[in-house]
Symmetry: C3
């Protein structure tokens, strides 16, 4: 069976919160009918992104500060003038970081490095229920 | 048939113009021999990128301003000293944003969010004819 | 055979050094059992990234300067306070650029543009031996 598509549900707090999803994705992979191939995590939405990082508290803060430098939350955005939902910076950050990340796997294990975790970043400005798409293509 | 490769032709104006390609890609997908799998849009060139965004005029302006902050067009680039084509900032932006985006699909529909569109960004400084690669891998 | 996974070894110097890997990847592809499909280069580690660029010396310098603007090496990072390895900026840059890049291929040739090369960026602060994952999915 060459394609297997599932989803992952998350409760997030927003404001560029970084959620480590490595364990949840690894468990889906361990139980999948596909042994070797390419795994894609995809965010169906325009205020979230997927990254890899060494997921320790110091770096998490560094990334939150970097997102703030790249698209300051204090700036006035044209998006907010039209929609007044105050999350223009969330959209800009999400489009920069990207909604999609693909990781090769072998024997139902991702080829991540030892200090490399897979994480979802919720750039929106409020708590949300998120559903990520997880798709395996392979054999 | 597990792989299907086509292309998409666009006439663009450049200067970080954002072109919504969701409809064109969805039509290619609707007519493809593959029902479920992974769709990749790839830019064969070094001055274009692929993103997702909520494609409304306010956010489009916000993103154009963000690209200008990240790699100002007014700056002097080493690339321009060598080639004198004045698009050093175009190359830097394109390498940051990336030429490739992969989206899972099911029943010939991309798993995009409701307010999430797929777009090509032409960072070059002049109108161009662009050919994007569209590839489906699946079953 | 729909999946083929190999690796690519590189000796890198770090400090955002950009290494053109187009030729090595093209050779692996030319000898692969898969003719058409999607090629993914993945960095198993949290201080490296994969990009495409017009790989000429001027643009290489422009990108190194852009990385320095986006996450200055002179800044103090929370990551460094905890681990004292002085590579906080390396981690931030790597998470921004991303560890994964997927390129469609046909007849064992990548669909790259004429002036578009595939490159590994080593953001770490010291010379390293790197092993990149190269995976082909297709037919």
């Amino acid at each position: 069976m060459p394609v297997h598509t599932t989803s992952l549900e998350l409760a997030t707090r927003g404001n560029s919160e970084i959620t480590d999803i490595t364990q949840e994705v690894a468990e889906e992979l361990a139980n999948s009918p596909i042994q070797t191939g390419l795994l894609t995590v995809f965010v169906p939405g325009s205020t979230g992104g997927v990254i890899t990082l060494e997921c320790e508290p110091g770096l998490v803060r560094d990334l939150e500060e970097a997102f703030e430098r790249w698209a300051p939350s204090s700036k006035t955005y044209h998006h907010d003038r039209a929609w007044a939902d105050g999350n223009g910076h969330s959209h800009v950050r999400a489009s920069l970081v990207g909604p999609s990340l693909s990781v090769p796997f072998k024997d139902r294990c991702m080829t991540l490095g030892t200090w490399q975790q897979l994480a979802f970043v919720d750039f929106d400005t409020r708590p949300r229920k998120r559903v990520l798409i997880l798709q395996l293509v392979g054999e």
